[in-house]
Symmetry: C3
């Protein structure tokens, strides 16, 4: 396997705000989980559920907070933020292939393009005229980039990404395979019984440090731009319609759909398969539970969800359903009881 | 930027059934929204919500209906259908790149193919044997088209579209990037504990004037064909299973899933993330709200939805949920009250 | 059309455990449905709903169970499992193009790769260094395969599939177009207000006989592997997050999302648009209804669903919703009645 890393704990922790408890010279060759620990490997503990494995893990080092340090029977890297420290240390074991700078001879490059000599353009890529690619940016094999599109520095497009014309992508952006940026928004006008397509003349603007998963689609704006602000994190198979604006540092899980002209604030969390209707505004610092149908604007921070009941057996679902369907009948019986007792009727059924 | 349009209002309205109020010689160089109007730019008013901006917009012209004309302090283009008129006028500012007729030297073309000399086949396209491509059709870079597939005139496949073998696509069809047409339907038969794939021998037939978004998948039929009738509009990330038939001029928003052998009528509207079970029929002129689970056939026109409640806080959802779970208890208490009052019991709980 | 098949019933049934009733020498040239039967074509009957067509179908042969044989007025192929027998017979009419062994001259192949001479690598494919491809495997045009990835024998990747580095794919696997295997899992850690990406160092392991639809995304594991066990069937547009494990012979319909670290057992059935939260376990032999939000572990076999009510008109939905919202009020009225009758109050509202 390509990554033959072999570093001491001291080397791994260089520059990080951590304390090493145990043998700083212990050599580490890979990563593992705490429950399936391996000698010479490093792991981390974030979820208290796994605390019980600390006493017996075969890992040679565990990244954890001071609270759990006493339970750890091997070398410990003590930090206030174990998951962040893990991210930094695990990155040293990354085996993501490194791209070679330069343009692969099979790539087709348009006229007047400006490709930084440190950028890498993979095999069978197609770049339109006037495309700009920043320093150290990697465009992996099979990507298509339309005319006048600008891509910043240190950005990575994985294989088979499609970017339409006149799109703006910032620096340190990562886009996974199969994702489409800048497709036509779904703007249609009915005229004499048939749909007429409304031209989609805006762009998509993706700011710096954005990460987008696989097989997403982000439509270009109709008049103004669709905007993905800096630091946004988007998972796989997410649909972002035209004119949507997603605020900085918002994270969106897989299979979410966001309809046209909706604005989502910054620092929001959106669970998987949630859906947003069009033309609404969601405030900053809002968390949306997975599967939620966001059917109106949300003006205050908080945790939001829609629907009734969690997972139940199909029989239980039918019973709930039947009971809800009979609620009118229940109301009538109560009214009759009240009448019998000559209590005031507070009926306000529509 | 590529589009350096500069036309008078009179020129822009040429051939359209509209009335110009103000300076017909006013020059227009681009499009804008009414709320963010710009000098020398044109906009439109359709949604009454934005009427308030008419008095102050900096736009040099607004397309609107006669009802709002009095509010408009700039040049007005008066029409009975502002959104349709906008579609026609905005199209004159389109900057979608024009493809050059001919076959890019890097494209790989099968034997016995018939490609109209006015068609454009982009870089790194791969076309199988016996493929037919109509006049003025554009197959953008990176598309793959299987054997015996026929594509009509003036159709546009954006970059990285995949069309399997023996598919039929009509004229003036537009398919956005990443979409897959003609993949295998999900037909599986269990035999001795393992799944056996049932051959999918039908085609996909896409009629004229259909528009399909990005990253959709439309499966080929099992025996007969999957059919997308003329004028259908499909947004992004939509799944159309085998044997589905979608009637003319139906519009389907993003992230919708349609299971196998379901028929949807013509002139229907389907909201985002709606789902259809298999083997049902939906009548013409049906509107399905976003997120609806269509679990049985719909035989009459109307607006349909499923589920209870809109977006509520998570705490409210839990309260609703708990109350529904306690409905049986509520029923029991009412029965006891009725017994105490010697009223007839109308219990019919399953 | 490419498939000019012409076989007798006896030839079609060779090696199958069936009984031919009628003319075993009847020649068959294609397949049809029972309701739209055609002379010289073969069909099958599985769904009793279509039994009524047996008396009049124009098909020259019908595959069916002994129970229905008396109704059949044409040649009959009698079997205990008509759908399985259909799968075997229909396969003889398949017109899926056959790939030519060898590497297309436009493909770009990395160093140290091991490609079996009987394998087929299509036009414009890009394979990284150290890739292994088994015997009779077909990699269709436009596929991208990352470094160190291993693909077994008799596997088929349709056009424009993307497989990242270091992925393991077994034998007799089929992956439809547009699918992405091995994208980065959605692991992010917040640090000083911004998200930091957590390296995703695991692989995806796809065992033998797995079938995956179009435009799916299957993320690589964070530390250990994402695992799709043998015989799993996955439909289109399905999201499988990092560290997920799907047990053998489980079938998953379209548009399903499975969040990270969730385990699904073997022999499960998952309906379309179902969603699974992360870090849960679903037992073997569980069926999940379409659209179900699986929000907690399921420990016993059975049929599960979530939500209330099926498809209703929008007006009915609003009425249900309003009634649920008024349940607290209903409870209060019952309490008052009980008070009036001096019955014990069994209130336990939160």
């Amino acid at each position: 396997m390509p990554n033959n890393q072999n570093l001491t704990l001291a080397e791994l922790c260089h520059g990080l705000d951590v304390e090493i408890k145990g043998d700083a010279n212990c050599r580490i060759t890979g990563v593992c989980t705490v429950q399936k620990g391996k000698p010479d490997h490093i792991t981390f503990l974030q979820n208290p559920h796994y605390r019980k494995y600390l006493a017996t893990t075969a890992a040679s080092a565990v990244i954890l907070s001071a609270d759990y340090a006493a339970d750890c029977q091997t070398n410990a890297i003590i930090t206030r933020d174990p998951y962040f420290t893990w991210a930094k240390i695990a990155a040293q074991f990354s085996d993501t292939p490194r791209a070679v700078p330069g343009i692969h001879p099979s790539a087709v490059i348009g006229q007047h393009s400006q490709i930084d000599p440190t950028a890498s353009i993979g095999a069978h890529c197609v770049l339109g005229d006037y495309v700009q690619i920043g320093a150290h940016t990697v465009i992996a094999a099979g990507c298509n980039i339309g005319e006048y599109t600008q891509i910043g520095a240190e950005t990575r497009l994985d294989a088979n990404v499609t970017v339409y014309h006149r799109i703006v992508i910032g620096a340190r952006v990562h886009i996974n395979s199969g994702t489409v940026i800048g497709s036509e928004g779904f703007g249609i006008a009915k005229h004499k019984g048939a749909w007429v397509k409304v031209p989609q003349l805006g762009r998509v603007v993706i700011e710096d440090n954005v990460d987008i998963g696989a097989n997403c689609s982000i439509d270009r704006g109709a008049i103004e731009d669709t905007i993905i602000a800096h630091g946004v994190q988007i998972d796989n198979l997410v649909q972002v319609a035209h004119n949507v604006r997603i605020g900085a540092h918002t994270a969106i899980a897989g299979c979410v759909g966001i309809a046209g002209s909706t604005t989502i604030g910054s620092n929001c969390l959106v669970g998987g398969q949630a859906g947003f209707v069009g033309h609404i505004e969601v405030a900053d610092n809002v968390a949306i539970m997975g599967g939620t149908a966001v059917s109106k604007s949300i003006t205050a921070p908080g945790i939001y969800a829609s629907g009734i009941g969690g997972v139940v057996t199909n029989a239980q679902r039918r019973k709930n359903s039947a009971r809800v369907m009979r609620l009118g009948q229940l109301q009538a019986r109560i009214a009759e009881l009240e009448k019998a007792l000559s209590l005031g009727v507070k009926e306000n059924e529509e």
